[in-house]
C-alpha cells in the first residue's frame, strides 16, 4: 500500500480501528446483532411492540447488574432477565392491557436492578457501562456467545416466520386457521429477549431498542414486500451500527448515541422520501 493511501485511510478512520483485536470483535458482534435486530425489528414494527423492545433491554440490564454483583458473566444475567421478562410479559399479558404489564414488569425489573447496583461494594462501573454500551469490552469468547444466541434467534424467526406474519397482520384469521396467538406471542417475545441480550453489551441498555424500532420502520416506508423490507431493515441496521462503531472509536463517546441518531436520520429520510413519492404520484395522476 502506498503511503498516500495509508494517509487517506488514517484521515478517514483512526489507526487501529480494524487491526486491534478488540475492534475486530466489536465489528464482528456488531454485524451479527445488526442482522438479528434488522430481522426481528421487522416483526417488532409490524406488531407494534416498540414498548416491549424498549423494556426488555432495561430488564436485562437489571440482570446484568445482578451478575456483576455475583461475579458471573453479565451476558448470562442479561439473557436470563431479558428472556424471563419476556416470558413474564407473555404470561401476565393474558386478559390485561399489554402496555400496563410491560410497564409494571419494567419498573420492577429496574427496581431489582437498583437493588443489585446498591449491593455492589464499589461504584459499579461494569454495570453502568452496560447502560451505555462499549466497543472495547467485547472478548473473543463473547463474540462466540453472541453468534450462538443470534443463530438461535434467527432460527426461531425462520421457524415462526409464516404464523408470526399471519398473526401479526390478521390475528382473527390466523386464530381461525389454528394458529395459537398466545404461543406465537410468547415465542416472539422470547426472540426479542434474546436479540436484546446480545445487543446490550455493545449498544447499551438505554438505546439497544433503537435498532429494533428504527430500521424496520424506515424500511416499511420504502417497500411493500416483506422480504425486501427485511433486507432493507438489515441494511439500515448494519450501516447505522458500522458507522456508529467507527465514530464511537474516534470520539470515545457512547455507541448508543451514534446508532440512535443514525437510525432516526434513516427513519426521517425514508418517511420524507415516501411522502415525496406519494405527492409526486398524485401530481402525475390527473394528467393521465
Amino acid at each position: 500500500m502506498s503511503s498516500s493511501a495509508t494517509g487517506w485511510i488514517n484521515w478517514l478512520v483512526s489507526p487501529g480501528i480494524f487491526t486491534y483485536s478488540f475492534m475486530q470483535n466489536a465489528w464482528l458482534s456488531g454485524t451479527i446483532i445488526a442482522i438479528v435486530c434488522g430481522v426481528a425489528g421487522f416483526f417488532t414494527m409490524l406488531r407494534g411492540s416498540a414498548f416491549a423492545a424498549h423494556a426488555l433491554p432495561k430488564i436485562g440490564f437489571a440482570g446484568a447488574a445482578g451478575a456483576v454483583w455475583l461475579s458471573v458473566n453479565p451476558l448470562w444475567g442479561l439473557s436470563v432477565f431479558a428472556v424471563g421478562g419476556a416470558l413474564g410479559i407473555g404470561w401476565l399479558g393474558k386478559g390485561a392491557r399489554r402496555d400496563v404489564i410491560i410497564g409494571l414488569i419494567l419498573a420492577f425489573g429496574l427496581g431489582t436492578g437498583a437493588l443489585f447496583l446498591s449491593f455492589n461494594n464499589e461504584y459499579a462501573a461494569g454495570a453502568i457501562a452496560l447502560l451505555f454500551g462499549q466497543i472495547v469490552g467485547v472478548s473473543t469468547g463473547e463474540v462466540i456467545d453472541t453468534a450462538v444466541l443470534a443463530a438461535l434467534c434467527l432460527a426461531l424467526l425462520v421457524v415462526l416466520y409464516r404464523p408470526l406474519l399471519f398473526a401479526s397482520v390478521a390475528p382473527d384469521n390466523a386464530e381461525a386457521r389454528g394458529v395459537s396467538l398466545r404461543s406465537i406471542d410468547i415465542w416472539f417475545l422470547v426472540v426479542i429477549g434474546i436479540a436484546t441480550a446480545v445487543t446490550v453489551p455493545i449498544v447499551g441498555a438505554l438505546l439497544s431498542f433503537s435498532l429494533l424500532v428504527g430500521p424496520a420502520a424506515a424500511a416499511s416506508y420504502l417497500t411493500h414486500r416483506p422480504s425486501h423490507a427485511m433486507m432493507l431493515s438489515v441494511a439500515i441496521a448494519l450501516l447505522s451500527l458500522w458507522i456508529g462503531v467507527a465514530l464511537a472509536y474516534d470520539t470515545g463517546w457512547p455507541v448508543g448515541f451514534f446508532v440512535a441518531t443514525l437510525v432516526v436520520i434513516a427513519y426521517a429520510v425514508a418517511r420524507i422520501t415516501a411522502q415525496w413519492r406519494v405527492s409526486r404520484l398524485s401530481r402525475v395522476a390527473p394528467a393521465e
Binding site: 411492540s49 401476565l92 402496555d99 427496581g111 438505554l206 428504527g214
Partner: protein, 289 residues
C-alpha cells in the same frame, strides 16, 4: 407494644428531617401519579408515560451538564417530549412507532449527556434511580404547589377527559374537543411524570404512574372511585417503601440500606398481581360485550 413499634419504625424514623420530607414529597407525587395514571391506563398511553420519564432524564442530564438544576431539565424535556409524541402519533399504531422514535432521538442525546455526567460520580444513578431522601427541601413547596395545580386542572377537565378517554368518537360527535383535551392531558401527564421522575428516579416513575391505577381499575369499574383508590394505593406503596428502605439500613448484605425504588416497585407489582385474583365484576363485562 413499644418494642413492636420500634421494630417496625426503626429509631429516628419520624424525627429524621430527610425522612419526613421524603414522606411528604413521596405522598404528593404518589397521589398525583395515581390520579393521572388512571387516564394513562384507560387511554393506553403507558409507553408514552414511560418514554416521558426517560426523556425527562435526558433533560436532567443535559441541564446538570450545563450547570443547571435537574428540576428544570426534567420538566422542560418531558413537556416537550409529550407535545412531540402527541403531535406525531395520531393513530394508535403510529403512536407506538412515533413514541419509539422520539424516544430514540431524545434518549440518544440524553445518553450522551449522561455519559459526560458520569465524570460527576453518581449523577447518572441519581437521575435514573432517584434520591428521595436527598431531595432539596427548598423544592418541596414548589413541587407541592405544582401538584395541587395539576389536581385542580384535572378536576376542571374531569368530565370531558373521562368522556374522550372512554369513547373518543362519541365524545367528538357530542362536541368535545377531543384533540385539544388529548393534548392538554398529555402535558398534564408530562408534568406529573417529570415531577415523579425527579423525586423517585426516571426509571421508577412508571411504576407509580401505571401500577396503582391499573390495580384500582381492577378493583372498581367506576372511574370516580378508581382515581381516589389509585391515589391511596400509590400513597400506601410509597410510604411503606420509604419505611422499609429506612429499616433496611440494618439489613444484609452491605449494611447501607436497600434502595427505596426496589421496595416501591415490588409493592406496586405485588398489589397489582393480588388485584388480578379479584373477580372482574359483571357490569364491566356487560359493557364490554
Amino acid at each position: 407494644m413499644n418494642r413492636i413499634l420500634s421494630f417496625v419504625f426503626a429509631p429516628g424514623f419520624f424525627s429524621n428531617e430527610q425522612v419526613v420530607n421524603a414522606l411528604w414529597l413521596g405522598g404528593v407525587i404518589a397521589v398525583v401519579a395515581g390520579a393521572v395514571g388512571v387516564f394513562t391506563v384507560l387511554r393506553g398511553q403507558s409507553f408514552a408515560g414511560h418514554a416521558m420519564s426517560d426523556m425527562g432524564a435526558a433533560g436532567a442530564a443535559g441541564s446538570l451538564l450545563a450547570g443547571g438544576t435537574a428540576v428544570t431539565g426534567f420538566l422542560s424535556f418531558s413537556v416537550i417530549a409529550g407535545a412531540l409524541v402527541d403531535l406525531l402519533g395520531v393513530r394508535p399504531r403510529d403512536r407506538d412507532v412515533a413514541t419509539g422514535l422520539v424516544l430514540t432521538a431524545v434518549l440518544g442525546l440524553g445518553s450522551l449527556f449522561l455519559f459526560f455526567d458520569t465524570r460527576v460520580v453518581g449523577a447518572p444513578e441519581m437521575i435514573l434511580f432517584g434520591s428521595i431522601f436527598d431531595s432539596e427541601p427548598s423544592l418541596t413547596p414548589i413541587l407541592s404547589g405544582l401538584a395541587l395545580l395539576m389536581l385542580v386542572l384535572m378536576l376542571i377537565l374531569y368530565r370531558p377527559l373521562v368522556f374522550s378517554s372512554l369513547s373518543a368518537e362519541t365524545a367528538g360527535a357530542r362536541g368535545v374537543p377531543v384533540r385539544l383535551i388529548g393534548f392538554i392531558y398529555m402535558l398534564l401527564l408530562a408534568v406529573s411524570v417529570g415531577e415523579t421522575a425527579l423525586i423517585v428516579g426516571s426509571l421508577l416513575s412508571t411504576a407509580l404512574l401505571i401500577g396503582p391505577a391499573s390495580t384500582a381499575l381492577r378493583l372498581t369499574s367506576r372511574i370516580g372511585r378508581a382515581i381516589p383508590l389509585a391515589a391511596l394505593i400509590g400513597l400506601l406503596c410509597t410510604w411503606l417503601g420509604i419505611l422499609l428502605a429506612y429499616d433496611s439500613y440494618y439489613w444484609p448484605p452491605a449494611g447501607r440500606g436497600w434502595p427505596v425504588s426496589f421496595f416501591i416497585t415490588g409493592l406496586v407489582l405485588a398489589l397489582y398481581l393480588a388485584s388480578r385474583m379479584w373477580p372482574q365484576g359483571a357490569p364491566t363485562r356487560a359493557l364490554a360485550d
